[in-house]
């Protein structure tokens, strides 16, 4: 039941408790108590809306992907520095990577200059950080399994056998 609820909510966070109960052959009381438990356990970490900001001309958002190489600390490895980085509000996402660098930092800010300032003055100056390489996102085509530009037009005939 937990996994089913998670999969449904991951696909559509707008499901009402009542609809989930119908779909899962359960009751609203049981479904809400499971969801509350999942929230308590930080398995459900939040509910957000997927927005294509590119379409909102008055609001500019700049996103960058920063590859970071760091020196891991004795005892805590990469975790201590990663936890510290994740506290910056500019950091939208942070992943430990295998391969040619250690951390992927997704940085989001209002202007290019703000991103540059963050990388040069906050990120690169941390002792353990060896190198950074910053790549700016030019256009987002797909995010969270959702293709942005494609407006779904129902091409089917209105009635068919």
């Amino acid at each position: 039941m937990k996994t089913k609820i998670l999969k449904l909510l991951e696909g559509n966070a707008k499901y009402s408790i009542e609809d989930l109960a119908i779909i899962l052959d359960s009751t609203p009381e049981i479904v809400s108590s499971i969801i509350a438990q999942l929230e308590d356990e930080q398995i459900i970490c939040g509910y957000k809306t997927l927005i294509n900001w590119d379409k909102i001309t008055e609001t500019e958002i700049v996103t960058a992907l920063v590859e970071v190489q760091i020196t891991p600390s004795r005892g805590t490895g990469f975790d201590r520095i990663a936890q510290r980085l994740s506290l910056f509000k500019e950091v939208e996402a942070l992943y430990l990577m295998s391969g040619g660098f250690d951390l992927t930092v997704i940085v989001k800010s209002k202007t290019l200059k703000e991103v540059a300032t963050f990388v040069s003055q906050k990120l690169a100056v941390i002792d353990e950080v060896l190198t950074t390489r910053t790549h700016f996102v030019l256009k987002r085509y797909k995010d969270h399994s959702t293709i942005f530009e494609q407006a779904k037009v129902d091409q089917r005939m209105v009635v068919s056998p």
């Binding site: 449904l8 559509n12 609809d19 119908i22 779909i23 052959d25 129902d154 089917r156 005939m157 209105v158 009635v159 068919s160 056998p161």
Partner: protein
């Protein structure tokens, strides 16, 4: 000279499909929410489209073997064994048709001599009766009942059989009712079929879309394999309606005879579509499961919605339709559908478009997004409350 007089009587006297009439009404309305569509709302999975595009890039645009490309027939054979425990020899027991519809037509024309009777449970897909008549047969309809969840019973079948009966069309999972037949029910019907030496055309186009119960083909019942032709295809399960790829599976003698007819009438199914179909059957099990799960969620919401608004609605366990009873409103199906369309701009299909016994019911497809379904349910409820 009147050109109209030159049309064959068989065709001229065939009434247009009830669906067609309703289609015209809905089209005039313009901006209605439609629950009238008998095809998936999903796009064909990209890996299938990509395979077909690649075949075009490679210039693979020639005719295929009449029965369909051998690699496709082999894939169908593997698929049937994997999904339904049925073994069909790709060389002489599988015919790739132009959609499931061609399979119905070719099977009937291959098997029927003039005056032989075809037993057709109703409500059911609109093409069985016309195809029977075009093939020179006599359609004998069997009205299935809501109290039996629209399942054909052995007794109803027995009562409809005459010495002219030759073929039983078995349309389960059913369009428009969503009814399915389970193994125990198939066993009972099979006894009657064997006793009267009938051939079964089992239309299993919705076989992948069952909920909570796995589809059982009548061909897997003892003594039925040798007298069953399965008609199916990729349209519903893989969201490939426009590709027009179906298949017929059965005893070699029948499939070879059907292939003879198919080769003169159609030559072969579209080659590009056949390449897509190979990819779908080979790599598409997860796609089918994903879509089936989504349909099941919507099915439950629809069933709950209709029951909450006070309409009787049996639980459909297959296809992607619910078939609620609207008799309580005091209207017949067509009146209900026309009024609903005019007052609330929601299009559903009158149940009697699928046979007289469908009157008093409406077919609502749930091949739509949950938001669309919920909006439609709200409007239908507002409409129904005026009459209850």
């Amino acid at each position: 000279m009147s050109i109209a007089n030159k049309i064959s009587t068989k065709v001229a006297t065939m009434p247009p499909s009830g669906i067609r009439k309703f289609f015209d009404i809905v089209t005039e309305m313009g901006d209605a929410i439609s629950l009238g569509v008998g095809e998936p709302d999903f796009d064909t999975p990209w890996h299938v489209r990509e395979e077909a595009i690649y075949s075009l890039e490679q210039g693979k645009t020639v005719y295929s073997a009449n029965a369909g490309m051998l690699p496709l027939r082999e894939e169908i054979s593997r698929y049937m064994a994997r999904r339904f425990d049925l073994v069909y020899n790709p060389t002489n027991q599988i015919l790739v048709t132009v959609g499931g519809s061609e399979g119905i037509d070719v099977a009937l024309r291959t098997l029927l001599n003039g005056g032989e009777e075809v037993l057709i449970p109703e409500p059911s897909f609109v093409a069985y009766m016309p195809c029977t008549i075009f093939a020179g047969g006599i359609p004998v309809t069997i009205a299935t009942k809501s109290e039996n969840d629209f399942k054909l019973t052995a007794q109803e079948l027995e009562e409809a059989i005459t010495e002219k009966s030759k073929i039983l069309i078995l349309p389960y999972p059913n369009n428009p009712t969503g009814a399915i037949l389970e193994k125990s029910e198939l066993l009972a019907i099979s006894e009657v079929i064997k006793k009267h030496d009938l051939i079964v055309l089992s239309d299993e186009i919705y076989a992948e879309l069952t909920y909570g119960v796995k589809h059982v083909s009548i061909a897997s019942i003892e003594g039925m394999y040798e007298r069953t032709v399965i008609l199916s295809g990729l349209s519903k399960a893989y969201a490939m309606t426009g590709w027009r790829i179906g298949y017929a599976l059965g005893p070699a003698e029948i499939i070879e005879a059907m292939t003879k007819m198919h080769q003169y009438v159609l030559m072969c199914a579209p080659t590009t579509s056949q390449y897509g179909a190979i990819a779908a059957l080979r790599d598409g099990d997860d796609d089918v499961k994903y879509m089936c799960d989504a349909y099941n969620n919507r099915r439950k919401l629809m069933l709950d919605g209709f029951r909450k608004m006070g309409l009787d609605c049996f639980e459909p366990k297959g296809a992607f339709y619910v078939f609620p009873c609207i008799k309580k409103t005091g209207m017949n199906s067509l009146e209900f559908c026309e009024k609903l369309l005019q007052e609330e701009k929601v299009a559903v299909v009158p149940g009697d478009a699928f046979g007289k016994s469908g009157d008093g019911y409406i077919r609502c497809s749930y091949a739509y997004s949950i938001d669309e379904l919920k909006e439609a349910l709200l409007r239908i409820e507002r409409f129904v409350q005026k009459f209850l």
